[in-house]
Symmetry: C2
Subunit: 200 residues, 2 copies
Amino acid sequence: MTRGSEGSVPVPGHRSITEAEKLAEAKLGGIPIRHEQMAVVANIYRAASAVRQHLENSVLRGVDLTWTAFVVLWVVWIWGESETRHVAEEAGISKGTLTGVARTLEGRGLIQRADHPSDGRLVLLSLTEEGQQLMQRVFPAFNDEEAFVTEQLSDEECRSVADGLRRVVLQVEGSGEERRQALLGGAAPAPRRSGRRRKA
Amino acid sequence: MTRGSEGSVPVPGHRSITEAEKLAEAKLGGIPIRHEQMAVVANIYRAASAVRQHLENSVLRGVDLTWTAFVVLWVVWIWGESETRHVAEEAGISKGTLTGVARTLEGRGLIQRADHPSDGRLVLLSLTEEGQQLMQRVFPAFNDEEAFVTEQLSDEECRSVADGLRRVVLQVEGSGEERRQALLGGAAPAPRRSGRRRKA
DNA sequence: TACGTACAATTTGGACCCGAACGGTAATCG
DNA sequence: CGATTACCGTTCGGGTCCAAATTGTACGTA
């Protein structure tokens, strides 16, 4: 995050970020930038990376779980036996990704899949006995690190930050699709450059 | 995010999250959970995913850039010609990942690499003319979407949330290493299970 | 000059990740 | 009741992503 020695004034904290913003403004020469909004997005992602990295390297690595694998386990653990599409959505990954992760977890004996009793299209995911024991053991340690990374925030500040982030999520999930439609103006959705090609 | 029909009381907003927390508490039976801290971490990651997804699908897809590729371009754009290790750190990715991303970007004529004048080990990254034009065109649109996703937050709230997140980042970057050391108690750092295997 | 150490970027291996395409089941319609 | 239509999980292509292994450069010291 920090560079070797950029400025000369020893202003403590946030210097790097603020300086980047100033530089960005200069780069755009006159075009106004929404600073506060930019700072929120930048720090959301920065914090997400830092937190994920810390948790992977502290508690998750020891039990040989990736962040995504843990999230999937957590979702199935909390919600109980669930349909894969729900798990994917709750975990914030695509259906295709879940298929692979679930396969890995299944191979390690942590989750199991079952056919839906009445709808042949559905697959149900649930924790095995071993998976449940794992989560009961790991989650307290995970939560301890959640407390560590937020140590500089009071409970009240935690509530405030969490609420602000929740509003961001709701905004995107609520109005994002509509916004994208408006932006692209009904034009071609510009398919992802990579991805599977049509057979013909 | 939301499920079909879980609860019976029509409490608006945040139901899913809160319910998940309650379920988690029940699962742990007695073991106390730090709710506020858990909510912060959960929502940081949720927001990061949502924001990234929205930006990829709105402005980035149209110019055929992934999130990571854009971040790398942004860093080089803002900081000017930089050494790769700094770019990787600032972008929040590993050096190895940057090598691949930089190759892709170089192939598209958006960035260029140059040898360091005095230290032959270093490689410098800078934007090409085309890369600069792209960023000058794309960033305003990007910032517009940053404003969109934070639309439900006032400027003051934006500052507050950004500051809270900054404190999380500083906490992890400042004390994370020490914390991990203490946690593992000097024991083996438990190598990543995936990735390259040791030869013998 | 030769050698070891330090540190640079790159290569490599395995898992992840998205989203279009696919094949199969369920529901709907004529 | 056959034919669409809608939906579900899986497959697959291309691209990240990390960390170990590798390669190469710089620089100290003998």
